[in-house]
Amino acid sequence: MTAVAQQATLGRRIRRWEGLPYGLILPTVAYLGLFFGWPMVQAFKLAFREDGNWTIEPFRSMVNDANFGEALKFTLLLVGVIVPIQFVLALAMALLVNAKLPGRGLFLAIFILPLAVSDLAAGLVWQSILTERGYLNTVLEKLGLIDQPHIWLDPTKPNQLLFAVVIAELWRSTAFVMVIFLAGLQGIPKEYSEAAEVFGAGLVQRVWKVILPMLKPSLQVALLFRIIFAFEAFAVVIAITGRAKTTLATEAWRWQADYFDSHVAAAYSALILVLSLVSAGLVVWLLRTPKEQMLR
């Protein structure tokens, strides 16, 4: 009896202990600290220290490098083009799946399929579609739409490679955003939309005035993830464009793997981190939800 009573009081004590929530997240924090925080600190140290001295030499090498401007430009361009298109598409896809039409399971399966493909594999798939003797030209020729193969991956034509990378990235990662949106949509009570419908709101109005504002937390999460991932774009770009286009992550990899200079590679990584953090901060700030509007 006493043992049971003691156990009960111990349990109660633990439950009343103010530090309980902190105790519960402690393992996660320790894990993140050990496997993400510490390597990050090390990477920063690598970028700022050379032969035991503090230095900004790696950053100077990075900024003065012939490929830095191109890499920064193309990375920002990718983020700026892919993310907005992807959000519109993902929203449409999520609404379609959420509309409970017949065959929604099939839509969902088709939409989600690319998520199972690694980014390098996705890049290679698109490369083999778009290359001169690739699947696209073969199909177009068979249909009689073109007489001779068209070159889709032509670095001399402005923005053609950007277009190819955007297509591949949209195919590969829009489903990811859609899943987040779908979860968000399913958390919105149907009554709101129905009430709006009763008051005569059309589909566009309902999406714009009811669904989107209530989807704001999901938008925020999706935007955070997508922007961070877009700054890391690498394998798809390499597979499709080869040496014609470069990104910040590509340059980081080259400095490490080809030029054996970990300091400059770390400087690139630090730059990617800072850009991701700044844009994440902007997203959080721009899409902040006032407390009184929070869905409880």
């Binding site: 012939a66 290359t131 001169e132 670095p155 040496r243 080809d258 054996f260």
Partner: protein
Amino acid sequence: MRRIRLIPAALTVLAALSAVAVAVLLGAGEKAAASPRDAGKVVFLSNQLAQVTEVDAVRNILLKGFPGNVDFVAVPSGQPQVWFNRIQAEAQAGKGSVSLLGGLHGDYLTIQQDLMDLTPVAKQLTKAGIPADLMTLGKLGTSKQLYLPWMQATYIMVANKQALPYLPKGADINKLTYGQLFQWAKNIKDKTGQARVAFPAGTNGLINRFFQGYLLPSFSGGVVTTFKSPGAISGWLYLKALWKYVHPQSLGYNFMQDPLLSGEVWVAWDHVARLVNALKARPQDFVAFPAPRGPKGRGYMPVLAGLAIPKTAPNPAGARQLILWLEGIRTQAQTLGSVGFFPVNGGKLSEKLGLGLLKMNTAVRRSQRGAGAVKSLLPIGLGPESGNFSKIYVDTFTRIVIRGEDVRSVVNDEATQLQALMNKTGAHCWAPDPPSSGPCQVK
């Protein structure tokens, strides 16, 4: 029930039979090893042919039938230092276990004081017809034969026969000039509407070797010393002009055999190992020929592997016997057939190798023996900076040819970086640049 019991019984019989077979084979092996010409135990340390399939080919094809017990130790390509460390450790100890070394020309320069003079073996090999300039490379600038040429690779050009009608008038494909290559590329584009000449300029392509071994030596006669010279500038301007007629997907090509086979590309330059599948698959459709000649000669880059005996070798006689075995025309042909390295032996190769490999072998020999060849070696003495060395050439190309920056300012800019790299590594000039006493200087 009975059937089930039969299976273990059958298995037992099978096991017994195979045990007997293995015992017979082992016995036979021992008998062979005991023959009078036995070379004894030879430890063969090589940093070439180190991939799993290559090691397998060495043990089961190239060494098969050799009277002796060869222990082929391949150093993984990711850890080149292991090769040097072991050789130097044995030299310092004054006592070794390695009797034969296999490595690239550049590798031997740093350990030449530890190598035996192989002049007597070279004399035994006179009939093999190894080209004199390769033998000279094996002397490493001394009067002694420090290593013997073993096998080689290089870069050649391959064309689809469909491209041949567009060759400019009077051009001999085996004695092409860069001017004729330009005209050829232009003809193809003008008459078919598509650019069909291409280079492996993708992320993992070897176009850096085109600049270092072909374009710049042919136009300027050098690689480092002449980096800023008018010849080098005209080479870059040539490439910029040619690029208008080069397949735009070149920046994505890594191995030219793939676009050659798909028909995207008709004329390509690349390393032999990255062209071989095209010629093996459809030997009738392709021709192989040496890279073109420029104003300063026909730049070409041999990749030469050699065999050497360290002074501490416990079994130098066995090692010499193994060298003669590996240099024999039969083993050399097997080397080409199984691992794709070309013979240094000038003898006639068996037609069993297939038309594709024989065509390539002819192109390799022509590259080497034709008049006016400017031999350009793989960079020597750069160590971990060789990636940065190539970066300078590829960046120069990207800035001038792809981005259209001003040639002179790009070349001056990159020359500063090249000089800094040479000073940092202290690397002396290598061929075709004239030898230097200190770090190689950009003039």
